[in-house]
């Protein structure tokens, strides 16, 4: 596939699906960094948080006690990177007793059907 980035840039729809809880493993953090990197390539970018990945969004994280960086810090940078499509799976949220007021940023809540449509609409889906 030819790619002339100036005259004819290829723009694809990327969806990053964050599913891993913070701190127990490091992979979720590196995955968020990958998402921020994608923003630099000016692709159509969406972020979806589901399963234990929702815990990344929680406000009032205190990782200093375990010498870790705050997983929610890169999330707070989403808007400055032009990432405004941030979605949360309604089922995962209900299962964990979470509310949008618990999160560090504004999110769009998706039911299962809408979530399927979002995935169906993508060129590339990456999952942690």
């Amino acid at each position: 596939m030819s790619n002339d980035p100036i005259n004819d840039p290829i723009k694809k729809k990327f969806l990053f699906v964050h599913r891993k809880a913070p701190y127990g493993s490091f992979q979720g953090r590196e995955f968020i960094d990958a998402g921020l990197m994608a923003a630099a390539f000016e692709q159509e970018l969406s972020m979806l948080f589901m399963d234990d990945g929702l815990f990344i969004l929680l406000d009032q994280q205190q990782p200093a006690a375990i010498q870790s960086k705050d997983f929610s810090e890169p999330v707070k940078k989403f808007s400055s990177y032009g990432i405004d499509k941030v979605f949360v799976d309604a089922v995962s949220m209900k299962e964990r007793g979470l509310d949008t007021g618990d999160f560090v940023i504004d999110v769009n809540i998706l039911d299962t059907n809408t979530l399927s449509e979002l995935m169906d609409d993508q060129d590339i889906i990456l999952s942690s």
Binding site: K12, Q27, D33, A34, D123, L126
Partner: protein
């Protein structure tokens, strides 16, 4: 069709790298192309030249090196994950003041942008992990 693959789990603790390898081999056998395999997270450990599996066990690192050499595709290790986990090429070892480097033949160390770019220019990007 042009494929790129992403591997996010370590060898000898997860099947991801082996599955990706079998996928790549099968795709190439069918006449498809592989543009790049990107290793990130624990997947960077697939680039260690120091893995010594016992006789009778497959050496997945060597298999990747040979397949990439034969079919001329890229094996790229994520630099952020590599430095954290001790996978260094000679340049990085010198830069970090380390006594040795250990990047396996055929692998290169580069940034996460290589994963995104692979997704943009390939027909399919498939994640194994």
């Amino acid at each position: 069709m042009i494929f790129s693959l992403s591997v996010t789990e370590a060898p000898y603790s997860h099947q991801a790298s082996n599955s990706a390898y079998h996928f790549a081999s099968a795709a190439l056998d069918k006449g498809h192309g592989i543009y790049r395999v990107f290793f990130s997270g624990n997947g960077v450990l697939n680039g260690s030249d120091l893995c010594c599996p016992p006789k009778g066990e497959v050496n997945i690192i060597s298999l990747w090196s040979e397949l990439a050499d034969k079919h001329d595709f890229e094996l790229v290790i994520c630099v952020a994950g590599a430095l954290r986990r001790g996978i260094l090429d000679a340049d990085e070892a010198a830069r970090q003041g380390k006594s040795a480097s250990n990047l396996a033949k055929g692998f290169t160390i580069s940034g996460l942008g290589q994963l995104i770019e692979a997704g943009i220019v390939s027909d399919r990007l498939i994640n194994f992990g």
